[in-house]
C-alpha cells in the first residue's frame, strides 16, 4: 500500500491540483457572473436599452474560471496526462504541483466574487450615468489585475518544476 502510494500518490495529487484549479475559480466565477446577472436583470427589466453596457460588466468576473481552466490544461499537459504519455509522479513532485496551483485557486475564487461586487455596484453607474459606464468597467477591471498575477504565478511555478 505504501509502495503504491509512493509510486502513484504524486499522480493523484496532480489530479487533485488540476481539479481544484478549475473548481474554485470556476465556482467563484459562476457566483460572480450570477450576482452581476441579477443586478443587470434588475436594470434591464426597467431599461432594456442598456443591455450591451451591463453585459461587459457581467462578463468580467467570468475570466477567473477561464484562468483556472487554462491552469488545469497546462498542468495536465506538463505532466503528460493530457498527451497520454503519463509517467508515475512521485509524492514530492505532486506536492510541488499542488502548491503551484494554489495562487490561481485561492485568488481566482476570491477575486471573482470581489470583482462581481464591484461590477454589480457599477450597474448603478450604468443606470444613472450611462455615459460613465467605461468608468464602471475600469473599476471592476482593476480587480482583474490580481487574478492575472495569480495566474502568471501559478503558470511560472508549474513550468519551473523539473
Amino acid at each position: 500500500m505504501v509502495d503504491l502510494l509512493m509510486e502513484w500518490g504524486g499522480t493523484l495529487i496532480v489530479f487533485f491540483a488540476a481539479a481544484i484549479a478549475v473548481v474554485f475559480p470556476g465556482f467563484g466565477s459562476a457566483r460572480g457572473v450570477g450576482l452581476v446577472g441579477q443586478a443587470a436583470a434588475g436594470l434591464i427589466s426597467e431599461d432594456p436599452s442598456k443591455f450591451s453596457k451591463v453585459l461587459i460588466l457581467q462578463a468580467l468576473p467570468g475570466t477567473q474560471g477561464l484562468y483556472g481552466f487554462l491552469t488545469t490544461i497546462l498542468l495536465l499537459n506538463k505532466t503528460g496526462i493530457l498527451s497520454g504519455d503519463m509517467a508515475p509522479i512521485d509524492l514530492s513532485m505532486g506536492l510541488k504541483y499542488l502548491f503551484a496551483v494554489l495562487p490561481i485557486t485561492v485568488v481566482g475564487y476570491f477575486s471573482a466574487v470581489i470583482q462581481a461586487k464591484t461590477s454589480a455596484a457599477g450597474v448603478a453607474i450604468v443606470t444613472k450615468q450611462p455615459e460613465d459606464s467605461t468608468k464602471a468597467i475600469i473599476f471592476a477591471a482593476m480587480v482583474e489585475t490580481y487574478a492575472v498575477i495569480s495566474l502568471l504565478s501559478s503558470l511560472l511555478m508549474i513550468f519551473s518544476i523539473e
Binding site: A39, G42, D47, A120, V123, A124
Partner: protein, 322 residues
C-alpha cells in the same frame, strides 16, 4: 438574509430613484404663480392631477405605486413591515376612536399598513382583538379598555402610539440594517420630544408621560418627563444636555422648524444608502425618499392653494434624497 440577494432589487431601485423629483422640479413647482399653474407643472413630472381636490387620491396612488414596487422586488417582504407598522397602529387607533366615539365619518386609514385594514375593522367591530397579530392584540385590548372604562380617549391613544414606536424599533432591528435601526431610534426619540413638548404646553400629568413616552437610547425618558412636568424652560434645558441640543434650540423658536429638522435628520441618516450596492438600505432609502417627496409636494400644493409666499415654502421644504 444574504445581502447579495438584493442585487436585482437594488438595481431596480437605482433606476426608479431617477424618477424621483429633483431640486429643479420643486423649484418649478414653487415658482408657479398659482395652484393651477402648479398643478400643470406637477402633471409634467408624472403626477396626474387636474384639480386640487384630486391630489389626495393622486398622492395615495403614488405612494402605493412605490410600495408595490418594493413588494415586488424585496427578497424578504416581511422586512417591509417596518414601514407599514406605524400606519397599522394609526389605523387601529382610528378604528377604536371611531367605534368608541360612534362618529359618522368613519375611521381615517393610512396605507401601506402591515396589518390588513379589513382585519382591524373586523377585530374592532367584533371586539375580538385576538385575530390581530400578537404584537397588536394586547395593545388593542388595553387601549380599548382605557378608552371605554376610563373614558380617557387621549390616554388610550397615547398608549397605542407608545406601543407603535416600540414595535417599530423591534421591526427595524429585524431588518438588520444599521440605517433603518438608526432611523427608528431617531424617530422614537423625536416622538418623545414632541410628546414632552406638547404635554408640557398643555400641562399633562406624570401618568400621561408614563403612558406615552417610549424608552429610547438617546436619553432617559424619566428625566425627560420630570423636565416636562417642571416647565418648558426646564425641558429645553434638559434637552441641551443630550445629543438633541439642536432640537432644544429649534423648539425654543418654531415648532415647524423642529419638524423639518426631524425629517431632514432622517434623510441625513438614510442618505448613506446611496453608496450601498446591496442590502435592505437602498430599498428603505427609496421608500423614505418617496415619502419625503410626497410630503414636499403636498406642502407646496397646499401652500399654493392658500397663497403662501415662495420664501415660506422654501423654508419648509424637506431635504431630498436624490
Amino acid at each position: 438574509m444574504n445581502e447579495l440577494q438584493y442585487a436585482f432589487a437594488v438595481a431596480r431601485i437605482r433606476y426608479n430613484e431617477m424618477k424621483l423629483l429633483k431640486d429643479k422640479d420643486f423649484e418649478q413647482l414653487i415658482s408657479a404663480s398659482d395652484i393651477d399653474e402648479a398643478l400643470g407643472k406637477l402633471g409634467e413630472t408624472g403626477y396626474q392631477a387636474t384639480q386640487y381636490g384630486d391630489l389626495k387620491d393622486v398622492f395615495n396612488k403614488e405612494a402605493m405605486k412605490a410600495w408595490s414596487l418594493l413588494l415586488e422586488i424585496a427578497p424578504d417582504k416581511s422586512l417591509l413591515d417596518v414601514f407599514g407598522v406605524l400606519n397599522a397602529f394609526h389605523n387601529l387607533k382610528s378604528a377604536l376612536k371611531s367605534r368608541v366615539s360612534g362618529s359618522d365619518n368613519g375611521p381615517y386609514y393610512l396605507l401601506p399598513s402591515c396589518v390588513e385594514i379589513s382585519l382591524i375593522d373586523e377585530a374592532v367591530g367584533k371586539n375580538d382583538f385576538s385575530i390581530l397579530p400578537e404584537y397588536m392584540c394586547q395593545v388593542a385590548q388595553i387601549s380599548y379598555r382605557i378608552m371605554t372604562e376610563n373614558a380617557d380617549g387621549q390616554l388610550g391613544e397615547a398608549y397605542i402610539d407608545k406601543a407603535a414606536l416600540d414595535i417599530f424599533k423591534k421591526f427595524a432591528e429585524k431588518t438588520d440594517c444599521p440605517e433603518v435601526i438608526r432611523v427608528a431610534n431617531f424617530k422614537c426619540a423625536a416622538a418623545d420630544i414632541k410628546i414632552a413638548y406638547r404635554g408640557c404646553l398643555t400641562g399633562k400629568n406624570k401618568e400621561f408621560y408614563d403612558a406615552s413616552l417610549c424608552p429610547c437610547e438617546q436619553f432617559d425618558i424619566t428625566l425627560l418627563a420630570s423636565a416636562a412636568l417642571e416647565g418648558k424652560e426646564e425641558l429645553l434645558d434638559y434637552l441641551k444636555t443630550t445629543s438633541y441640543k439642536d432640537a432644544a434650540g429649534l423648539l425654543a423658536g418654531d415648532f415647524v422648524a423642529f419638524e423639518k429638522w426631524c425629517d431632514d435628520s432622517v434623510m441625513d441618516i438614510i442618505r448613506t444608502a446611496k453608496a450601498e450596492p446591496f442590502g435592505f438600505a437602498p430599498l428603505a432609502a427609496y421608500w423614505i425618499a418617496k415619502e419625503t417627496e410626497l410630503k414636499n409636494v403636498r406642502m407646496i400644493m397646499s401652500a399654493k392653494q392658500n397663497g403662501f409666499s415662495e420664501d415660506s415654502i422654501f423654508e419648509r421644504m424637506r431635504k431630498l434624497y436624490v
